[in-house]
């Protein structure tokens, strides 16, 4: 099943199961979403529950917060994560803090779907990966599914969660295919997954980089290096035990993501490993991230910019040398 279909199925199943679930966003209704992720939902659930909105990101997120405070379970879409700055007050100062600062009087079961990612020559304002912004804020849960099965299972869990959950998809994954278990399929929020077992090095990879890390592991096995690929799946709250367990086992750590390095999620992973598994480390931790520049448009530059299997393998070889 395609990743994009897994998203539609997750929303369909949850909307059918719970009539409090509503859907808001630009072009999510009649058009079925820019990448087709919400196709057919308007026909199935009607205009009361599936709503095309104006281009009003602040109003969309604010309305979702209000609707959640008043008994619904909204799913909203911010079309590209790059645009999240336009509604960041609602996300950070309202959605993330309300439950806490009001002494638990309100619960905000809001799901905010958005996507990140370079690779389509979409240029600087449509290719960024800003998940670290969200991970930095207490009160938000952040998931970043890399496979169709995970996006379905995590999105369903997000919809059932009583907290705001940001679901960070990747635009280049929408067309990818993978097995999705039949029937009710939930992936718990906060649980990492070992994508490939290994004993020499742990590669923690996010989103699309999971697939690059798996390719890198294939390359490395030819050199006799056994790489374990760990997909955290949930960035906040993070499955620290899985991370520390894997590092304790392999003694080496490489982290790969598409977001920028400074204050990126890899810095957090490295810090957790340094704090919790320092004595197991046989080599310095390495991060594989893009250069600290906006995402360039032109193909040769964007290709140079993106981390890939080759760059991950090179970093692993360094720490294993």
């Amino acid at each position: 099943m395609r990743y994009v279909k897994a998203i539609a199925d997750a929303i369909t199943e949850e909307m059918a199961r719970d009539e409090r679930v509503i859907l808001l966003g630009e072009d999510v209704g009649a058009p079925g979403g820019t990448f087709g992720a919400t196709k057919g939902l308007l026909q199935q659930f009607g205009g009361e529950r599936v709503r095309d909105t104006p281009i009003s990101e602040t109003a969309i997120v604010g309305a979702a917060i209000g609707a959640a405070a008043n008994g619904l379970r909204p799913i909203v879409e911010i079309m590209f994560m790059d645009f999240i700055g336009t509604c960041w007050d609602q996300v950070v100062n309202q959605m993330a803090k309300m439950h806490y600062m009001f002494g638990g009087q309100v619960r905000l079961p809001v799901v905010l779907r958005t996507h990140t990612g370079a690779g389509l020559n979409a240029g600087p304002q449509h290719s960024g990966s800003l998940e670290a912004w969200a991970v930095h804020v207490p009160g938000l849960k952040v998931v970043m599914p890399s496979t169709p099965a995970d996006v379905k299972g995590l999105l369903k869990s997000a919809i059932r969660d009583d907290n705001p959950v940001i679901v960070v998809e990747n635009k280049t994954l929408y067309a990818t295919k993978g097995e999705v278990p039949a029937g009710e399929h939930l992936v718990p929020i906060g649980r990492a997954e070992v994508r490939r077992e290994g004993k020499d090095v742990t590669v923690v990879a996010l989103s699309r980089m999971v697939h690059e890390a798996l390719k890198a592991a294939d390359l490395l096995s030819k050199d006799g290096i056994s790489a374990e690929v760990l997909d955290p799946r949930t960035l906040s709250p993070l499955d620290r035990d899985a991370l520390l367990g894997s590092v304790a086992k392999t003694g080496r750590l490489v982290i790969a993501h598409e977001a920028w390095g400074p204050c990126g999620f890899g810095a957090e992973i490295a810090a957790i490993a340094a704090e919790g598994a320092f004595r197991s480390l046989k080599a310095p931790v390495r991060r594989v991230t893009p250069p600290f520049t906006p995402v360039p448009f032109s193909p040769p530059m964007e290709k140079r910019w993106l981390p890939d299997a080759g760059k991950i393998a090179a970093a692993v070889r360094e720490v294993c040398a």
């Binding site: 058009p31 281009i55 790059d82 020559n121 448009f297 032109s298």
Partner: protein, 320 residues
């Protein structure tokens, strides 16, 4: 009512031709895989940029939209360097860093096309503020869509420009759709121009496929702005003949609607207007259209022959 002079009329017609041919070529090159990324064309919407920019000088500024090739060309950005940017080549206006949605040409007063809907309006307020403070006499024209009119940024910018009486002309190209969503779904009030009253600003709605109508409204707005009498909101009713982006199958609109608007194509309409005045003879028209075609061909060849940027150029230019 100010009308274009013969010279202005011919220049506007030539510009509309250039925009139309340039964008049709972009469509071909995109379909042929020569242009990467996302492309939003303004075919059918040539009148507002051509007429508004005909009233601006080289030092004036334009804030463009994601559908902004026409706005950039009309402000004087060179077609060859623009085409090279769309192709992602090193000779592009942004050296291949920006592409269609982030195409800037400051040398010609183009503040950039913009991938963030609504974002060009506050920026235009800023350039206008600077022209006031510096006493430079520049006017800024900010283009935006009907969809953009609903962003918070648009509301804040309109209000601020009005409060400070800044030299901005806000030009809403209302093409009736925001992506795939029709205006009736995203906006309750029929007219966007009427919002001007709420901000204490002049607002006028015009037929955006009628060059003289847009020209007259813009002439007054530019004159007032230049004279220190504040901003105007112009809503130009128009239509795009192609999809939201290239590759959009346009499932959301009726064929009849498209036909109806095709009959109002601004190019033949303005050609007729010029013809009535005896300003555009068949010979003149043939000469002008051949010139435009040659210019577009040259731009395409320039882009094709231009080198790719070095991959390492991705690392340059983050800081000044």
């Amino acid at each position: 009512m100010r009308e274009p002079t013969r010279e202005q009329g011919l220049a506007i017609y030539r510009m509309m031709q250039l925009i139309r041919r340039f964008e049709e070529r972009v469509a071909e090159c995109f379909a042929g895989g020569e242009i990467p990324g996302f492309i939003h064309l303004s075919v059918g919407q040539e009148a507002p940029p051509a007429a508004v920019c005909a009233l601006l000088g080289p030092d004036d500024l334009v804030g463009a939209t994601h559908r902004g090739h026409g706005q950039c060309l009309a402000k004087g950005a060179p077609p060859d360097r623009m085409m090279a940017e769309l192709f992602g080549r090193a000779t592009g206006t942004c050296r291949g860093k920006g592409g269609s949605m982030h195409l800037c040409d400051m040398a010609h007063g183009v503040l950039g096309t913009n991938g963030v809907v609504g974002a060009s309006l506050p920026i235009a307020v800023g350039t206008a503020l600077a022209s006031r403070v510096r006493g430079s006499g520049q006017v800024t024209a900010a283009f935006f869509g009907d969809g953009a009119a609903n962003t918070g940024a648009a509301h804040e910018a309109l209000n601020l420009a009005s409060v400070w009486e800044l030299p901005v002309v806000f030009v809403c190209e209302n093409n009736l759709y925001a992506e795939f969503t029709p205006q009736s779904v995203h906006t309750k009030a029929g007219s966007i121009a009427q919002r001007a009253g709420a901000y204490g600003m002049r607002g006028v709605r015009v037929d955006g496929n009628d060059v003289p109508a847009v020209f007259a409204a813009a002439a007054e707005a530019v004159e007032l702005a230049r004279g220190g009498r504040g901003p105007t909101l112009i809503e130009a009713m128009t239509y795009r003949f192609r999809g939201h982006h290239e590759g959009d199958p346009m499932a959301y609109r009726q064929k009849a609607e498209l036909e109806e608007w095709r009959a109002k194509d601004p190019l033949p309409r303005f050609r007729g207007w010029l013809g009535e005045r005896g300003w555009l003879t068949d010979a003149e028209r043939a000469r002008l259209e051949a010139e435009v075609q040659a210019e577009v061909n040259a731009a395409t060849e320039f882009a094709r022959q231009s080198p790719w940027p070095a991959p390492e150029a991705a690392l340059e230019g983050v800081y000044a």
